[in-house]
């Protein structure tokens, strides 16, 4: 049995660290980074910042233009998303949920729930409405009173089996459940995370996308999200064989 103080320390560190959202830096432009000397230490920082600033302007414009060019895209059919997708360097945010965007990937709002009570985002190299090659997130949108409607549990309905990975997962510092799920007889396997209060789900289309999904999940920042938490609804209640 763990010492309660040790558990408290883990919780305290997790809570404190959850507030630390570093600015994105990706020193991949050159391997020839000079390790020593004050002048040369971060000579890639300015070009990176410039590139990030340019991307912050260009990428949303490109996505906006692409969405308009599609004409009958799902988002266009359903009207404007409840909250716009905003990019900042290697992160994006929608409805107050900020998440890292893996290298070479981008993000797009691909749908919204009935009555605009949730928003669906696909993070992928080429986000599509089915997000078959990426990681999709369904994010609850709170009403004026702060109430929200739970988003669908990716592990319920139509899935043949669920493999529990972690019942004590943290998404942005909040309790969640991580599972591997198989929704068809012969795959593909998927990975999913579901917030214990049903407010958010993350699904990687296959476990080949685990690295990117891990990165997104690990970097979730929920501090600006209007949903501040609710009653836990997702519980592990029984076991059965696959």
């Amino acid at each position: 049995m763990n010492d309660p103080l040790e558990d408290e320390l883990r919780a305290a560190f997790a809570a404190a660290a959850g507030d630390v959202q570093p600015a994105p830096h990706r020193p991949t432009a050159t391997r020839a980074v000079v390790p020593a000397g004050a002048g040369g230490r971060r000579r890639w920082a300015l070009p990176l910042l410039a590139a990030a600033a340019a991307a912050a302007v260009v990428v949303p414009l490109a996505i906006w233009a692409g969405g308009n060019a599609g004409g009958d895209s799902q988002a266009a059919r359903q009207g404007p998303a409840p909250a716009g997708l905003e990019f900042s360097g290697d992160t994006a945010s929608v409805a107050g949920v900020r998440f890292p965007v893996p290298a070479t990937w981008t993000a797009a709002v691909t749908g919204q729930g009935e009555g605009a009570k949730s928003v669906v985002v696909c993070v992928a190299a080429a986000p599509g409405s089915d997000c078959a090659d990426g990681v999709s997130m369904t994010i609850a949108v709170a009403d004026a009173a702060g109430a929200f409607q739970p988003v669908p549990d990716p592990g319920v309905g139509g899935c043949e089996w669920i493999q529990l990975l972690d019942v004590a997962q943290q998404l942005g510092g909040r309790s969640a459940i991580a599972t591997s799920i198989g929704c068809t007889a012969d795959g593909p396997r998927s990975l999913s995370w579901y917030m214990a209060d049903g407010s958010l789900s993350v699904v990687a289309a296959s476990d080949a996308l685990a690295d990117q999904a891990d990165q997104i999940v690990a970097g979730l920042d929920l501090s600006a999200w209007s949903v501040k938490g609710g009653t836990p609804i997702a519980t592990v209640s029984s076991s059965a064989s696959r």
Partner: protein
């Protein structure tokens, strides 16, 4: 809403967050992959050690800069351990520099706590985090590595370049101090 068909007998943790052992067994490890998977965690770890997220970012960026420049000489299987050691060393140096600055009297202005200090004092844990902040640097580093990064005693020892016994002793003293702090406050 309940989840059914859970298969605890087939628990598979391979898809949880990136493993936090310092000897990551990834044959195809590249510095870019390490950066993508561990940058945020390392910044958070350093921020917990030195209580300043901007300085923490500098420490981690320096660690990655060294990793990139020395990649050809580093065993990929030990690269994550190298990063942990670089970041803990960098954090230790940052704290030492800060102590030196604070020990200089008068005309050198006091270094104020980082602007993020109130944020770091996560709600509900102010007392405990405050007590952790008062611990000696080594004890604080051990606690962060053990209870935030979830490193084993051996990996913590490797990251700090000390013996496992020293880790055990530092952990014992740190927990004892924290218990005493809690008792005094209660």
């Amino acid at each position: 809403m309940t989840r059914l068909h859970v298969v605890p007998a087939r628990l598979d943790t391979s898809h949880q967050e990136a493993p936090l052992t310092v000897h990551e067994d990834v044959a195809a490890t590249t510095p870019e992959l390490l950066h993508a998977r561990h940058y945020v965690k390392l910044v958070r770890m350093a921020a917990l050690m030195i209580d300043d997220r901007y300085q923490a970012e500098e420490v981690v960026q320096d660690a990655f800069a060294q990793l990139f420049s020395r990649w050809s000489t580093i065993d990929p299987a030990k690269a994550l351990g190298y990063l942990y050691r670089s970041v803990t060393n960098g954090s230790h140096s940052a704290l030492r520099r800060r102590r030196i600055v604070r020990s200089v009297p008068r005309d050198v202005p006091e270094v104020a706590p980082g602007a993020d200090a109130p944020v770091l004092r996560a709600a509900g844990f102010e007392t405990l985090l405050g007590a952790v902040a008062k611990l000696p640097a080594r004890q604080r580093e051990v606690l962060v590595l053990r209870y935030f990064s979830e490193l084993s005693v051996a990996d913590t020892a490797a990251a700090l370049d000390i013996t496992p016994a020293a880790v055990a002793v530092a952990t014992h003293h740190a927990l004892k101090s924290l218990r005493q702090s809690k008792e005094q406050l209660s």
